[in-house]
Symmetry: C2
Subunit: 116 residues, 2 copies
Amino acid sequence: MEQPFDVFSANCPSRAAWEHVTGRWGALVLGALADGPMRFGAVRRAVGGVSDRMLSQTLQALERDGLVHREDHGTNPPHVEYSVTPAGRRVADSVVALVETIHDVMPTVMSARAGA
Amino acid sequence: MEQPFDVFSANCPSRAAWEHVTGRWGALVLGALADGPMRFGAVRRAVGGVSDRMLSQTLQALERDGLVHREDHGTNPPHVEYSVTPAGRRVADSVVALVETIHDVMPTVMSARAGA
DNA sequence: CAGCATCCTTATCGATACTG
DNA sequence: CAGTATCGATAAGGATGCTG
């Protein structure tokens, strides 16, 4: 027995984690961090189009879910490093695989959109 | 040579496909259809919390992207079957893998949320 | 059954300004 | 640098009612 979790159920706690990960910026942030620890500004540059506000919120949600680790060096000027936790790495790897799959099928998507 | 596509770029056409797939319902619908062709009502029951309206929009976006195939039997009462296309199957498989990863790490997420 | 049209509420997000 | 606070526009989404 096991896995009492089911993202297809609206009220399962895994649904919230699912939405943090697959939300507008969650997966992209995780994908960026999959390459290694990065500072706030580096993540912002890596993820095209994200604002300070959204990045901050996204990182906080992922940190609360234990998928991202936040390391504040407490210096001035501030120096904070974000990285994936072991659990976060597993999720990030799956996200990266999904990104690659999307890239792979893009030619098909483009011709479908064109009204192939 | 190639992969001119990059979801990390805000203006890449793959970003739109990415958002259709990782949007609130996209991945869940794809995940449901990964099990085989389903009728509209069956998908709605499979994906907890989705409304007619959102399901309809989501299916249309995925169909436009060539990831989902819509087969209207033209009968009365209506009988419409949705299925993944070959490209959609690849994406759906990646989505299912992500779902499973999320389920796997849920115990970790739960304890992180509890303030482990 | 498989949807679409309409309305309306809510949540998301971006811009801007500010702080230690 | 690494954020937070506030505001306002916009879009997402739910409820309801209707159709062939």
